[in-house]
Symmetry: C2
Subunit: 343 residues, 2 copies
């Protein structure tokens, strides 16, 4: 009936040692004799004792908790990243506190406050950005910050991103190599930095090639937006014959609009390229050519950075190369090889 769980004191009494001994028993590398250690472990086992990490974190100033701050957790890409991050954290002996936001910076800021109140060892942002002043407060307190696919750069925090602009350029080159004469661009209105970079790369490469691509930008980064984008672009008089979607989720929507609503054949009449390599991109019906985000790398290297003790490690930006997943949604080139012209 006791509301409070068993503490080190109880274990110490049962084992007939001091509280300090049981603390040392669970501290790797502490000086303790094998026999007392065994006696304590036995007592701990019968009592079902687990070290209280709240108290431990309080005194050691290291809670072992890392906050993951994100919006739209149920989205394929986000959930994939979330899974990879939680696994990487667990491998490193940390544990993930997941806080979801509505995507706004205010909401992310509030999430960070939550993280601070739990004295989180670090915070990883998948969405939004905290104000500079709060971020500085965090870092003064020894809390590491990781920003994934964010743009603004707080000194002392790690910035992880893909070569988005480059991918946009490659997408245009691939569409042209596939013989597309009217390439188009489809994106959302969210203004996410990584999406903007992909758009920019595509647009600039087009300009360099002397092409003015059709563009459509609508709503949120979702499948439904993809459907609308498809309808909007593919009912134009000068119908595009190749579309680069800044996200796989939207690409799936575009493909479905083309195939099921307009009867357009993929890739004969329309080539499609996405970004992220979500699981659905590999599904039989889509088989979408896309750029694979190295999710595992992002996760493991982020965690690696934030558990490295030396804050003086110079690396503060991590740019990863997305790997092209070439599938059947892009028409085989006009005899040319798959060489994509680089900038």
């Amino acid at each position: 009936m006791t509301k409070t769980s068993t503490s080190a004191k109880d274990v110490a009494e049962l084992a007939g040692v001091s509280r300090a001994a049981v603390s040392r028993c669970f501290t790797p590398g502490a000086s303790i004799s094998p026999e007392t250690r065994a006696r304590i472990l036995k007592a701990a086992d019968t009592l079902g004792y687990q070290v209280n990490r709240l108290a431990s974190g309080l005194i050691r100033n290291e809670s072992g908790i890392v906050a993951l701050i994100s919006a739209e957790l149920a989205t394929p890409f986000r959930s994939k990243l979330l899974a990879a991050l939680t696994e990487a954290l667990q491998r490193a002996g940390k544990v993930a506190l997941v806080i979801n936001t509505d995507g706004s910076n205010d909401s992310a800021q509030e999430a960070l406050r939550q993280a601070i109140s739990y004295r989180t060892d670090a915070a990883i942002f998948l969405s939004g950005m905290p104000a500079r002043s709060l971020a500085e407060t965090c870092q003064r307190n020894g809390m590491r910050l990781v920003l994934i696919s964010r743009n603004g750069h707080h000194p002392g925090s790690l910035l992880v991103r893909s070569q988005d602009e480059e991918a946009g350029r490659r997408a245009l080159a691939m569409l042209r190599a596939a013989g597309c004469e009217r390439p188009a661009l489809a994106s959302s209105l969210t203004g996410t930095p990584s999406l903007l970079a992909r758009e920019r790369g595509f647009r600039e490469a087009a300009r360099e090639a002397g092409i003015e691509p059709a563009e459509a930008r609508l709503g949120a980064t979702s499948y439904d937006t993809g459907l609308e984008l498809g309808m909007s672009l593919l009912t134009r008089p000068d119908r595009p014959d190749g579309i680069f979607c800044t996200t796989d989720l939207m690409a799936c929507g575009v493909m479905d609009a083309a195939r099921w609503r307009l009867g357009i054949r993929i890739p004969d009449q329309l080539s499609l390229i996405g970004f992220d390599d979500i699981p659905q991109a590999g599904w039989e019906g889509y088989d979408l050519t896309t750029f694979q985000q190295p999710v595992e790398d992002i996760a493991s290297r982020s965690v690696e950075w934030l558990i490295s003790k030396e804050s003086g490690s110079e690396i503060e930006e991590l740019i990863l190369e997305p790997r092209l997943k070439s599938r059947s949604s892009v028409k085989r080139g006009t005899g040319g090889s798959d060489q994509t012209a680089s900038a």
Copy 2:
């Protein structure tokens, strides 16, 4: 350069009050005068003070943390549930600690140990089950346990599940009403209790109708398994004309195998029913008839239960009715209405 963050003591000094006052300032309902409260809030703001919930949880014996224990976080249904749970928890002033497992009971047990070491207020299991003894230890310490779609029942914990068996029965009835003469069952080998119940319902209803349905059970509960299931069932000499898949994810695989590998038309030649109502089931190309799991309900009512102070609340089992989402993957009945025979 101080490694330790600002504490209530700092705020108290700056505001010229005692540490107790600043504690009362942040405790709703505590007795404090408006002017000192204002002075403290101002001081807290300039110092960027956040109440240390580690220390708070230590003394109040209530950390505000709830553990979510699950495998395969990146799966559409799981991530949907996870998102709903984290949101519901945040609305209730709690915060979610996500621990992922490999699906085994041992792994879940280990996760629960982690939860205990953080003195979590509650633990919600989406996968696996802890041993009875450990579960009892938790409850003795005032930690609530919620088991979602699990079967074994620890007294004192909340069991949340859908009417799976009933849904299986309805699935068979619907296929028959659609004119299917060779209904079949497709499932995974994981032995998840909810999947088994759906299978059982389907099988029993078939037996009662004097039918012996074809069955296929393979591997994990995944899209790829669905592909294999589809190939396995649909290349039989007595090819099924209706399949109930115990999961949407597998149903998508079955549909893709039928449509893209075997050229079978849906629903003319094959009717399909799934379970869960994952987002992809509503996508244009699938438009899958399925049973919608009331994810929001599951989340909000679980959280409601676990924050209710009175552990004497008698309700210990929560059975939710999945809502039928009737879409185009099932052939329109032979003139009959959509009445599904109940047991």
